[in-house]
């Protein structure tokens, strides 16, 4: 019943997408507005199909309909309600379903937003591209990733439940949808980029249309990545938040190219330059989401998160190849129309700074991509695998990150077109003092190591520059000094600075002790008193947890645990974290006591500033919301750049510069 309903939904969605693609294609070709207007109907039907499928899936999960393949494989009557809902995205088939649901949602959003302009070829083409992507993902569900298979079950059968690691923390219910909202959201600007190329409307129009959609997708992706890091910190128990794992890299890659785009698009808006580059960045961002899904879902790479694999790889790889081929073909075809009318006046200008920023982001993305696929390349060439791990990524990306921090300080104070060193020396004076004092204080307090101190100093530099911009903007515009793209962007920068400082502090001051505790014994680890109280075995609905009660600083009780989930062999360790503003105390159980009063071995990690990683993420989210806030429209006569000093005294022009 549920399986049939789900299949019906998918078939409906697939048919609607395909018909929509065909109708829009004919409409565009023969210039028939009536046909183009049906784009709205087809996108609604596709969404309806996806909703039916999701409802069928959730219904099957909630009623524990084990006759449906997906529930049989991943459902269980023991799974608590919240995780039962989240079971949908705990495995490949369900996550593709989530993907398709979000994608059709975005498609309807685009159709609704442009409902008055559906007959515009640009919009029609964009909708067509989105429906092609919808059709592909519906096809995946019909083909290699079908959750709606039927199996015969014996009475009394109970499934294994979702992967235990996914049942450990509430973040698992939020992190994947956020990440997918980000991933899939980039389909919207991608579709408009392809539409602009295909229709030849290569001006800045499509950029402005998709500005907020791009920012929204980026915001969701950012939050998704940070929640993912938080989840691994709270659940995986190895004491870290980022391991340069293929899945993490796959989410970081589109974020890097997307961030590059958010910056370089400003250059195109203001100066009409970098058209090819911006189109390429958007297409790269979209292709990288597909490639990332391939890398993590096809099983070619090992990963902590590769919770499932199937023969979906060929499909995703073909789609990736198609995307790249179409994009490159279109850009090559439109090549001469993409010549930019603008020009760069001076190497010392906002636009040059954005160029350097983009080179750095592109290099960052290249390092991450190369490091991720290099083991496979080496195996193909040498016949021998190579592991490329965190030490490689850290060594390569830290210099790029430091350079980006530096650019983050300099770029916002640079005016468009041209700046003088005098101007820079004036505007950067206070941020530079902040950097110098930070460096001196950090070294005086005993911090050593180039990378760490440089991060602190450059963080203060970039933070100072961002604060300066915010202060100036609010002084001039009041509360409006917080909203709008430029001002919101500065808040995002502050969030990035917080995260950068937290990463450096955490990496440098992390202390770790693995030690044995007798019952009742108190040991002082890293300035914290840790008392081992007792070990209790708790039978819960979905697991048998052996919880070790520990008191930290004579305060609250914390319970790191080792749990066994029926149907899964190995023990799953759950850390327990005492969160603090200055540092977290992170405890995992390494060895359980043998008898009732035997010693327990605990691993205690003092994690400095871990909380600030998530706080920084929150600040980035806040900044993104402020940046997307509907602001005052710029008048066409507003000056877009600082006045260039002429010979002689500057006339008393109204202060409408970027300052």
């Amino acid at each position: 019943m549920n399986a049939a309903l789900g299949t019906a939904g998918i078939v409906l969605g697939f048919a609607a997408s395909c018909l929509g693609v065909a109708t829009l294609a004919v409409g565009l070709r023969q210039k028939r507005p009536r046909l183009l207007e049906t784009g709205w109907t087809y996108s609604l039907l596709a969404l309806l199909g996806a909703i039916v499928a999701v409802v069928a899936m959730q219904r099957a999960l909630i009623t524990r309909d084990f006759s449906m393949g997906f529930v049989n494989d991943h459902g269980s009557s023991r799974t608590p309600a919240l995780f039962n809902v989240a079971t949908m995205w705990s495995a490949l088939e369900g996550s593709i379903l989530l993907w398709v649901a979000i994608l059709t949602g975005y498609t309807v959003h685009v159709a609704r937003k442009f409902r008055a302009r559906l007959t515009d070829p640009l919009v029609g083409m964009a909708l067509l591209v989105m429906l092609v992507v919808c059709a592909f993902f519906f096809l995946l569900i019909l083909g290699p990733a079908n959750p709606f298979t039927t199996v015969s079950v014996l009475p009394g059968f109970d499934g294994p439940g979702p992967n235990p690691l996914l049942q450990e923390h509430i973040l698992m219910a939020i992190h994947p949808p956020m990440l997918y909202l980000g991933y899939v959201g980039f389909t919207v600007p991608f579709a408009f980029a392809i539409a602009a190329l295909a229709t030849g409307r290569l001006g800045e129009g499509w950029l402005l249309e998709t500005r907020r959609a791009t920012l929204t997708a980026w915001g969701f992706l950012t939050i998704g990545i940070i929640l993912g890091a938080w989840w691994s910190y709270e659940v995986l128990g190895w004491g870290g938040y980022w391991g340069w794992d293929p899945v993490e890299n796959a989410s970081l890659l589109p974020w890097l190219t997307g961030t590059a785009y958010l910056h370089s698009v400003l250059v195109q808006e203001r100066r009409g330059m970098l058209r090819v580059w911006n189109l390429s960045l958007l297409c790269a961002t979209f292709s990288l989401t597909i490639l990332g899904t391939f890398l993590t879902r096809s099983g070619v790479l090992e990963s902590v998160h590769a919770f499932s694999d199937s023969d979906i790889g060929v499909w995703l790889l073909s789609f990736f190849a198609l995307t790249v081929a179409v994009t490159l073909g279109l850009i090559g075809w439109r090549g001469d129309q993409l010549r930019s009318p603008g020009q760069i006046d001076s190497p010392l200008s906002r636009e040059s700074a954005f160029l350097v920023n983009n080179v750095l982001f592109a290099a960052f993305a290249f390092v991450v991509l190369l490091g991720t696929v290099f083991p496979l390349i080496a195996e193909a060439v040498n016949g021998r695998g190579v592991a490329v791990g965190p030490p490689y990524f850290n060594r390569m990306t830290v210099p790029i990150g430091l350079a980006l921090l530096f650019m983050m300080a300099v770029a916002p104070v640079l005016p468009w077109r041209k700046a003088s060193t005098e101007l820079l020396s004036k505007r950067l004076f206070f941020p530079a003092w902040a950097a110098a004092i930070t460096a001196v204080v950090a070294v005086a307090l005993g911090t050593r190591g180039f990378g760490t101190v440089a991060t602190f100093a450059l963080g203060a530099f970039a933070g100072g520059a961002a604060l300066r911009q915010v202060v100036l903007a609010t002084r001039r515009q009041g509360w409006r000094g917080f909203v709008g793209r430029a001002n919101g962007g500065m808040i995002v920068h502050l969030g990035v600075v917080i995260i950068a400082v937290a990463i450096a502090t955490n990496g440098h001051f992390l202390r770790e002790v693995e030690t044995s505790f007798e019952p009742g014994q108190t040991l002082t680890v890293g300035g914290h008193e840790i008392t081992y109280l007792r070990t209790v075995v708790v039978e819960e609905r979905n697991r048998t947890a052996t919880k070790v009660s520990v008191q930290i600083d004579g305060d609250q009780i914390y319970e790191p645990a080792l749990s066994r989930y029926p149907g899964f062999g190995s023990l799953i360790g759950t850390p327990s974290v005492k969160t603090g503003l200055r540092e977290d105390v992170y405890i995992t159980v390494t060895r359980l006591p043998e008898g009732a009063d035997g010693p327990v071995v605990l691993r205690v990690i003092i994690q400095p500033m871990a909380l600030w990683l998530w706080v920084g993420g929150g600040v980035m989210l806040l900044g993104t919301i402020l940046a997307a806030w509907p602001g005052r429209r710029r008048l066409p006569t507003d000056a877009v750049s600082a006045l260039i000093p002429l010979d002689g005294p500057v006339s008393a022009a109204p202060g409408r510069g970027t300052e």
Binding site: G237, W238, G239, G243, W244, D245, E302, V304, A306, P341, Q343, I344, D345, P347, S352, L355, V356, V359, A362, A363, F366, L370, G371, F374, A378, V381, G385, V386, A387, V388, G389, P390, P391, Y392, M396, E422, S425, K426, F429, F430, W433, A435, A436, I437, A439, V440, A442, V443, T447, R448, G449, F450, T452, V453, A454, A457, E512, G573, L635, T637
Partner: protein, 157 residues
């Protein structure tokens, strides 16, 4: 802004002091960053460069799996016996396949180190020539029609 900053001479001296402070403190931070002091720190540093054989992509330092624990013990023993990081890494990879998390700097594996630098240099060179070309491009002059547009817009204000 505060008045004295507006004086270019004051600012120049200010920048010299900033540069001096940063050079001195960064120099100290770099030069005094000694090698790891305790055995546990050394084990962590070495363990971070070795892949835990059972985990998917965690390092020996980060994993609680049985194999990682055993390898950590082995590293501890060897560190205490005075072996260097490279010696220990070689010894461990003599029995475990593919445990090195850092690719070698030579041979085909060296590409993973060289390629990004190569690409970065190429990209920066491309940007530099691009900027140079854009700058030398002939400047456009506003036509009468452009001026009319501007006047029209200004009148609307």
């Amino acid at each position: 802004m505060i008045d004295w900053v507006r004086d270019p001479r004051v600012r120049r001296w200010g920048w010299i002091v900033i540069a001096a402070l940063i050079i001195v403190s960064m120099g100290r931070a770099t030069l005094e960053a000694g090698p790891p002091r305790t055995t546990a720190e050394q084990v962590r540093v070495i363990g971070a460069t070795l892949k835990c054989p059972t985990c998917r992509s965690q390092s020996v330092a980060g994993s609680d799996s049985a194999a990682a624990k055993a390898i950590r013990n082995e590293i501890t023993q060897r560190v205490e016996a005075g072996e260097s990081g490279d010696e220990i890494r070689r010894a461990i990879s003599a029995t475990y396949d593919d445990v090195q998390l850092i690719p070698q700097a030579s041979g085909f594996e060296g590409l993973v180190w060289i390629l990004p630098v190569f690409v970065l240099v190429l990209a920066l060179a491309g940007v530099a020539t691009g900027v140079a070309r854009w700058r030398s491009a002939t400047t456009r002059h506003a036509t009468e029609a452009d001026r009319a547009l501007v006047h029209e817009a200004l009148d609307k204000r």
